[in-house]
Amino acid sequence: MNNHLVLLPVIIPLTGAAVALLLGGHGLLDGQARDGGRIQAGWALGAMLTSLASSLWLLIQVSRSSQPAVFQPGGWPAPFGISLVGDLLSATLVVMSQAVLVAGILYALGSKDQVVRYPTFYPLFLTLATGLTGAMLTGDLFNLFVFAELLVFSGTILTAISDDKYGTEAAFKYFYMSLLASAFLLLAVGSLYISYGTLNMAHLAQRISANPDVPLLPVAIAMLLATFMVKSAVFPFHFWQPDFHTASPTAVSAMLSSVVVKLGVYGFLRMTSLLFVEQAPAIQALLITLGIVGVVYGGLGAIGTHNAKRMLAYSTLAQVGFILVAIGWGDRLALAAAIIFTFNHSLIKAALLMLAGAVASRAPVKTAAFGVVTGLGKSMPTTGALFLVGGLALVGIPPTNGFISKMVLFRSGIEAGQYTSLAAVGVASILTLVYVTRAFQRIWWQPPVEGSKAKPQGDSLLAPALLIAAVLSLGLWAAPLVELAQATATWLGSPAGYIQAVLGG
């Protein structure tokens, strides 16, 4: 019953962060950026790879044994201790996150940014990984708060030390919003605890379905929704996201805009399929509306920007909108579509942001603003080819994985009979085509600005190339992911299995 494997994806990055801090050398004392951290960087990459291997092992074991893997730290039985639960949803999302995080460290290794030579960069990157993984694997609501805070702190500091001179401002804005989100989460924790006397998610789910007429329950649902909306930058709480994702270092912004925003998506999936099953229709109706608003707003915002990284940040608003609409439709195929979309979007968006960052690193002034990078693509054809494939994937054109996610999404919409929202989403997805083509034209087709010349050296393309390879292979050989997502959706449809695995008996 006590499966230690669930602990590994959380504990390996955390231990790795502590050791990496020791490997930081003298730079830690005087706070200077210096180039002595190759050992530290290699260590961080090794820790992240080990962690990815353990999470893959967890995923394989969970899908083979077809029951959630549960670990009760300290030997305390379920409702009293904190449980770590790896069901198929958590395991899939953890594998996705850690694969992208490995690519992030690879990008940082080949990056020309000053920030990656900062002695606390890799430790913070690993604590970011810990926070994200832990928040997805924990089975306790208060523990989720703790891991989410770890994630927020690491992300904030990583952005505040960015090369971009507006990094600190953007980090401040984000941190302010996140403190409000944690305030919402704590209020939800308090409301649920006073009403049901437990914080274990499985136990809560059991007690909520037994007694749904508690006055504080709607308050708790609203607070939890607000929390996850801030985490995922969903429409009314979105305004910090483009600033924050543009100003952070490329290696970090590729993580923030791809996997970190998926924490909110995970939260919505857990809310509708485990905690508040009976109240789910109201939540889903809200998610459909917010999703459509996000798709339209994010698409228009992406068209209106003058910076490639900022455009991709706005595009994340739109893509998260697609996922929310799928969660809102809520039947088995739509949930599978949401999971496939989540997985694929992480790979695509991380690759595209890294490519935009690689272009920016070769610009005369280090920025991804279209005014500066226009025409610079002439001297980097490889980056252009990768960006083209990534852009096609974002739009949803075969043979990329973006096509698979859009196809499953639209098919689930037809089967669910949700023609109004389907039409809105379909029309709005044309916006993706507009902004991706425009960015490609500006950077690779137009003549360069007078006197502007690309630097000979820039960030390494290894990490985005690997991600694009994954994008293509998941597009050509989509069956494993689609089957995995369908199995996950089936699990989500029967929360009893989760509850029984955690509480035992």
Partner: protein, 110 residues
């Protein structure tokens, strides 16, 4: 006592939100500090009125719930770290713009 706690939580929340929305950076930081106190008090009240003797002692009667205190302890530590981080970032931002008015911090407006 319950009424008093409820009034205190409500008052703290209203003052905190009012201060949060001010433009002055110091006032908004004070708003955050008050907000975290309000939430801690709220969390404390979730377990404060159920028991009559301390947990893990030999006293008679209903034992009080120790969990909310553990939650608050964690939340206090986290919010302390968070406020330290906010203040340090405020220091950098206000030194760069030589102002304490958040409306004059305009670097991110595109």
């Amino acid at each position: 006592m319950e009424l008093l706690t409820a009034i205190a939580v409500g008052a703290l929340f209203s003052i905190a939100i009012f201060q949060l929305l001010r433009r002055n950076v110091i006032r908004s930081a004070i708003g955050l500090i008050l907000l975290s106190s309000a939430i801690n008090l709220f969390l404390l009240s979730t377990g404060a009125y159920r028991g009559v003797t301390a947990a893990y002692t030999d006293g008679v009667g209903q034992k009080s719930d120790a969990l909310p205190q553990a939650l608050i302890l964690t939340a206090i530590v986290i919010s302390m770290g968070g406020i330290a981080l906010v203040l340090s970032m405020l220091y950098i931002v206000s030194a760069r713009y030589r102002t304490s008015d958040l409306d004059e911090v305009t670097g991110l407006r595109h």
